[in-house]
Symmetry: C2
Subunit: 375 residues, 2 copies
């Protein structure tokens, strides 16, 4: 059975997908290593120690790239968060989370039996996380129970806001609370140096931002936490309990490895991506859309308020689906079916000429339905 | 960066790998769906409900195939075991495990904070699990604490023994202990009908036995356990906590789907595979190797004692590696480097003419080194 992918030759501005598009090298790996358990040809007991293919060497390079003492491969950012939370969890304990956190941060905490205290954002239209608020929330929470971890979403996946991680970490460390940076939208796009930031943990996503097939991710940590988070089985001395022995035992890891040299290069061009995103945002605002989140914006993930589209949706037969349908006709993928009031896009690695096509599409759609707003 | 796979054109008798070799359809899926998060093009919130690609439909077909009330996609058999154990875990509780269990069964229990009581096997040379012993172990263990689950490895990955699952389940149910069948080496090879066996849970592995890229697996359960194991988040109403929202969000799932029609057909030819395995075992025993595990054997995974090779290894320069090296020269993959005293092979889906080559290789190697044993 073969199932074709409908969006294959579309312009892709889906924030979930722009950073996970495979490099040519990664594509070649797919067929070479596609068979189940192929990476385990010469395994001696742990995935990160396999020498052929050179996973061990790759994990060491990854540790350098992330400026981390220790790195492990996971099946994604959420699984990395769960590994850390589940390891640090205690009865009735708490974690501190910024309120722009991804849903999986809350769920990982719920699965670990941890209570969650939220650091609120500044609300509409910027939804900023003020770093100092971490201090207030930690102080309040400490009255209720032990605080075992703080999670900062860097950036968040709703607005693409980048709080000052260094400042948050400094504050949390004053209260002796370790910090995990959720870098699902940064590792592989921007340079992230964990030790330089003094982050205790970082998690990244291969399929979201490292040009990899899913599911695969990375988890970096300071040496001092390895004895807890990477504790080994009593009975099987070389097996790390929280990894259930091995995690991403398959071809996604090989695509991550294949794309890694490209990823190392592309993070150096991050400034160009930010500039392009700002250019795109300016053009969108000229058309009357409103950029939510930080201004000027510091990331390719952008959330636009689009009340014109919402007004149109009330008047047309396709209702909320008209925008999706119009974009589909133009072979543009990435805006969720049904959305009109606001929507997220990512300009990451999308060439400017393709973005012009997207901008023109929005303009055409506004023009096409202008009359509905006048009636 | 491209890394070639060294064993690509080898005859593969690695028990980890024979059931996970991709079908041609699955290979075509790799390039089509390789990009990270491609399966999420039209996701509305949960992986198993995605209609395009038809994951929802596939999951329903899988439930029929496994004769299960409810099925979920996981990243592998071990992750399925952990999902169940972590859901059922209570303070100071116990699980019962056959002593042929895979290491990841013990680790999943350790990660869940569960104590493990073992049902011993019969020891050398058959290592059989006697079903009635589950009753003794449950009775003994109940004195120490609550027993929340029994796990039966069906078959185990060391000897390929297939205990009488129905009988074990009946015994456990008399003590009101639910049973999980670890079918990593059976689902996708043999027909497994969970409700017919009255199994409460079954786990399977895409990369091990369902002709899929890794990591991907299946978890089936009885309806009554869904409210515990698939409980949803308080805050995110459509997210299942134990799955962290979504699991195998990537191309391995598409290969599982592509191979599924083939897998449904191949399980019907299981008898032929057992016959071929027995034929292979007979030939091996004619050469003086001794089949461990059940006799006659009921599975393609076989463990042979090979004391002749062990004796040779003491006399040759390459020591324990001589066998691996000789097989490598002959382009035969699957016996772990360093092993000589005993080794595991799988004949699953390996054509008889290739198995003849393997048998001849063993014979040649014995012949080549015969003189070392005479000196």
């Amino acid at each position: 059975m073969f199932i074709p992918r409908q969006t294959k030759d579309f312009i892709n501005i889906d924030p979930l997908q722009t950073g996970g598009i495979l490099t040519e090298d990664a594509k070649r790996m797919l067929l070479e290593w596609g068979d189940g358990y192929s990476v385990c040809d010469f395994c001696e007991g742990s995935l990160h120690d396999i020498k052929n293919p050179p996973i061990k060497d790759f994990v060491q390079q990854l540790a350098e790239f992330l400026d981390c003492d220790i790195v492990r491969i996971t099946t994604g950012a959420r699984e990395g968060k769960f590994v850390v939370m589940h390891s640090l969890a205690k009865k009735d304990a708490w974690i501190i989370v910024d309120s722009n956190a991804h849903y999986s941060t809350f769920i990982a905490a719920e699965r670990s039996g941890l209570n969650v205290a939220e650091v609120p954002n500044s609300g509409y239209p910027e939804f900023k996380i003020y770093e100092e608020k971490f201090a207030d929330v930690i102080e309040e929470t400490k009255k209720k129970g032990e605080v075992v971890l703080a999670v900062l979403t860097y950036p968040d996946g709703n607005y693409g806001n980048l709080p000052n991680a260094e400042k948050v970490i400094k504050i949390c460390h004053e209260y002796e609370v370790p910090v995990l940076l959720n870098c699902a939208y940064s590792i592989g796009r921007m340079e992230i140096k964990a030790n330089e930031l003094d982050a205790d943990f970082v998690v990244g996503s291969g399929h979201k931002s490292m040009a990899s097939a899913g599911p695969v991710g990375v988890l970096g940590m300071k040496e001092e936490f390895a004895k807890i988070v990477l504790r080994k089985s009593e009975r099987f001395k070389n097996k790390e309990i929280e990894l259930l022995g091995c995690t991403a035992r398959g071809v996604p890891l090989m695509t991550l490895m294949a794309s890694f040299p490209h990823v190392k290069e592309r993070v150096k061009r991050w400034n160009e991506e930010v500039e392009k995103a700002r250019w795109f945002a300016d053009k969108m605002e000229e058309m009357g859309f409103k950029l939510l989140g930080e201004k000027p914006h510091n990331h390719d993930l952008m959330h636009f308020e689009s009340l014109q589209f919402y007004e149109i949706s009330k008047k047309v037969k396709a209702r909320g689906y008209f925008l999706y349908k119009e974009l589909k006709k133009r072979k543009i993928h990435g805006i969720k079916p049904g959305r009109t009031k606001s929507f997220k896009v990512s300009t990451y690695m999308v060439p400017k000429d393709k973005l012009e096509i997207v901008l023109n599409a929005f303009e055409e759609i506004l023009e096409k339905y202008k009359h509905t707003l006048e009636s």
